[in-house]
Symmetry: C2
């Protein structure tokens, strides 16, 4: 049997054992895992230093190096997150619905773990601890497949977390990493329909597309955000400026940052110029349509068709003047990745139409798109943000890592 | 642009229009569709007769011919089902959860249509009307891709239903059939990630496996049922006999019929012989392990490894003597398709362990597996029975055809 399949079989067996552990026991293991991250910080930081050294030799960009780097304070952050997860309400065992059938059978729909969860991710080693913690909390076995850059860090983290969990009474193979960064290993993981219950890719657009296209295992698509702010003709101009600048610049590298600004033709000549000035003052590179450029802002290059579809992940924004609400909705539904969009408007009917007709996971009236986040939404810890419609949509908390099962209690009923 | 992609683009545009139709308008259209099935019965039955003729010429088996055949009474049944669906509660617009964030933003999680639903199915033309009705009820555009045997029937049904819906004010392309039974057309449909939101295959194991393996669009796996009845040592022998016979013979061709019988070693010598006699009397062909065969029932052939994994869909059953609860659970979790399983037991602890540890969509104590059905479970109409864990599990009612969206009402909030 191949190495990855063997790993998955062990995960499936571990999932069956995990499913019968009590919530209290799983929470104790999470706390033990947090303590191990601090107690065994040395071996984790040593492994991370080897990753950093190799990355520096390869001339890795400073931004990536920063995401890869671990230190005592980052480990403390990961440990605190595990303790937080331990303190959250356990969704497993919740009776979602139930009634007595006319024939007397008592039906209960009960929340259960998904089983085996695969996570395919890129540079940040904190995903290793987050995903391991969220999966253990929800009674799932996890198979982690991180990127090559953080490989030694991920293996060290997995070893420390898995050993701490096992010592606290959890099954030995509840937390495993794929010890190969070969593409073939990831491909094999994607083919394990029947052994792996769901794959969650976390990373760039290329990684996610590749998993969606190749996986035979059900996938939850996460994260890509080509988000829009639309300034309706009825908008308060100051609010429009404040929201556009915040959505673009408060943290441009994340998925809920805005990438594109749409402004109604009826007001753009007065409302748009101060927004462009403020964006440029904040260091934002602008591309726009002809009307935007004709406003005379010096550095606005002509936006291409590709710009409308691009998530810059950077201090860059595309700007377009639209005829009105219809064109704004149609533009968004054409180019958006269906993550987060906001309308700025004082008109009630426009706001209502926008939230109904824009087909995205989170739709805002008069607020920044930057709030799309499990923590901000009050869901607790977040395993990712789903941009698909099946199973989970938007920020995913613990419930997204569960399924349900129908349990029926009879006393001899047969079907007539 | 290719034909199938063009169809899907029209469906996506129709879905956007459908999403803003009121529940009352959609229900009126469902009633109009029901009336059209009766009013235009002639052209549907003519098309069906052409399918039947071709099928007879090809020497199609009697069972398949029966599933293909339409008559006035079957059309009436399809029309009645549409009227029933119109009368059900509309899940769209339901506020699933909601609260006010600390910063004052009002958050609502609202139930919305999935968008574009693709159904790939085999011989039975009633799926055409059922799926069209359930999708319209939930505000989804549907793309139907039926099997070649029922091709003319499906096209006639789609034409009649789509025209009636359009006359009742629904978008023109809300209900469409793929007018080609080429495998290439189905393959293309499976590749339309971003245009089609979900594919639901309904049919045999081969069809479902092919869709799961090839689709880039998210899939809900349905239907295959290698279901088990397990007779625990503490079982009431008469109840065990009654449930085993009912689960196997009451309607052997359907997915919730039992295929395999497990009996505890501690009681099999007394409990099993009368069950074997009753099954044989009901015309069931039996295969079994050595212990079962040694009981001396004349016609029990030796079960192979393949038998344990086979859904016979017929009056045939595999029988195995197990050491006890552990072996029963392990056997089921190894060979089952995770559809429906039942334990017959008087022992409380055994029953509790069975329902927790057996990893199937529906798990029964002391009742026949034949109850796994949307109607029996009180879910109303059913679009299929999911055997996967993502999105929906077990019988799927209207809610399985929906997603949710976060809607956030602010008054200028930006993230600090």
């Amino acid at each position: 049997m191949s190495y990855v399949k063997d790993l998955a079989r062990r995960a499936k067996a571990a999932a069956a054992q995990l499913a019968v552990k009590s919530s209290a026991d799983r929470d104790k293991a999470l706390v033990a895992m947090a303590e191990a991250l601090i107690g065994r910080a040395g071996e984790i930081l040593d492994a991370n230093e080897r990753d950093m050294e190799r990355a520096r030799e390869k001339g890795t960009a400073a931004g990536l190096l920063d995401r890869l780097a671990l230190d005592g304070s980052r480990l403390k952050g990961m440990a605190d997150a595990l303790v937080d997860v331990a303190g959250q309400r356990d969704p497993i065992g919740e009776v979602v619905s139930g009634h007595t059938l006319p024939n007397g059978i008592g039906l209960r729909q009960v929340r259960v773990p998904l089983g085996v969860v695969g996570i395919i991710y890129e540079a940040r080693p904190n995903v290793t601890a987050d995903a391991a913690g969220l999966c253990l909390k929800t009674g799932n076995a996890v198979i982690l497949r991180g990127g090559s850059l953080a490989h030694e860090s991920n293996l060290a983290l997995t070893r420390v977390l898995a050993e701490a969990a096992a010592e606290a009474g959890m099954p030995e193979f509840a937390i495993q990493s794929v010890e190969s960064t070969d593409h073939a290993a990831a491909e094999e993981l994607m083919g394990l329909h029947g052994l792996v219950d769901v794959l969650i890719p976390r990373g760039g657009a290329g990684l996610i597309r590749s998993v969606v296209e190749h996986s035979k295992v059900p996938v939850i698509e996460t994260g890509n955000g080509n988000c829009h702010v639309y300034v309706h003709g009825s908008a308060d101009p100051e609010m429009a400026l404040s929201i556009a600048v915040n959505a673009k610049t408060q943290r441009p590298s994340v998925c809920n940052a805005a990438e594109s600004l749409l402004v109604d033709e009826s007001v753009y000549e007065t409302v748009l110029p101060p927004i462009l000035v403020a964006l440029e003052a904040a260091g934002v590179e602008l591309v726009g349509d002809e009307k935007t450029r004709a406003l005379g802002a010096a550095g606005v290059a002509l936006a291409t068709e590709e710009d409308w579809a691009t998530e810059y992940h950077d201090l860059k924004m595309s700007v377009k003047v639209v005829a009105g609400l219809d064109e704004a909705i149609s533009h968004i539904n054409t180019y958006s990745t269906n993550h987060s969009e906001s309308i700025v408007a004082c008109d009630y009917a426009a706001a209502q139409r926008f939230v109904v007709e824009v087909d995205s996971a989170a739709v805002y009236v008069n607020a920044s798109t930057r709030f799309t986040d499990g923590g901000e939404f009050g869901l607790g810890a977040e395993i990712g943000i789903s941009t698909q419609k099946l199973h989970a949509r938007g920020p995913m908390g613990l419930v997204a890592l569960t399924s349900t099962k129908f349990v029926l209690f009879g006393d001899g009923q047969i079907r007539g």
